[in-house]
Assembly symmetry: C2
Homo-oligomer: 173 residues x 2
């Protein structure tokens, strides 16, 4: 990935990229909306990373750390982010160098390293994220409780569909 300097603000995402062009597609409006949403969500993530002058992976790591109940280690984080532990070392190196993070050996199990966000970094991540999350929260004001129940049910079902698709083994031999 080209560090924190993407020139354009768009992001590539195959499940939410192309508009349907008369090709007999005819999918549900919700389905199209979902693809647009995915694309916008990815863009927002990239924008957030840009604002904080980090690459997306590093920001995702900070985000996990900022909201984790107990201190995480590189291994746990690497599996959450879907990268190898080796790559995680680089991420932590970068974040530590930038002053966002501290490595601390676990005293009980000295194999382990605990990653502690500096207070300023924690606050910055939470503050930036909150701006976005508050915008999303505000949307719900326009809906009745009944509607909100349906929306929540739909979002859960869509998430589940994506997950099922992602976790399925290749269906074609």
């Amino acid at each position: 990935m080209a560090s924190s300097s993407r020139s354009a603000h768009q992001e590539q995402d195959a499940t939410s990229s192309a508009p349907p062009a008369g090709h007999g597609a005819a999918h549900a409006p919700e389905t199209h909306a979902l693809r647009a949403l995915g694309s916008a969500s990815t863009d927002a993530s990239a924008a957030l990373a840009r604002r904080m002058a980090m690459n997306p992976t590093d920001l995702a790591a900070m985000s996990h750390i900022a909201y984790a109940a107990d201190p995480l280690g590189p291994r746990e984080l690497s599996s959450r982010l879907g990268i190898t532990p080796a790559a995680m070392t680089d991420v932590v190196d970068r974040l530590e160098a930038a002053g966002h993070l501290l490595r601390e050996r676990d005293t009980n199990d000295r194999r382990r390293v605990r990653l502690l966000a500096t207070e300023s970094a924690n606050e910055e991540v939470r503050r930036e994220l909150r701006e976005l999350l508050d915008m999303l929260d505000a949307i719900t004001d326009d809906f009745t409780p009944t509607e909100r129940a349906a929306i929540q049910r739909y979002l859960a079902a869509a998430t589940d569909a994506y997950r099922r698709y992602a976790e399925n083994p290749e269906p074609n031999p």
Copy 2:
């Protein structure tokens, strides 16, 4: 990007990564659902790319081409994907070498190159994508027309919020 061989199936996404851990967050359930959805959607995209043995960028390019009404050129595609024209040349090189794509000089404006997907590639992309999209379509069966209207309204609003956030200039000096 590490070509088409990501080992884990998770993807990093700062807007949809960490669960809230007692930190006074208290955002709307829809907001949390939205973050989970974003994460799942990114994962599904990566899974799709893996299935088709392409990296995400290349697949996104094919997806645009497959659904475009008129043949696209490298410049247009690069701006849609958010990469530079130089990077686009590599993408097209890869796709052409893999037999998914043909370069064809435009006869009217000979500066332009038109990117034509081979019929087999077009079919493969549409087939794989349809599997996912059909799953998403099926979800709507469980909702009444009224509920669906609310859902669509919500999805549009959320997309808009993400877009506004993504396109905003840095709010903090």
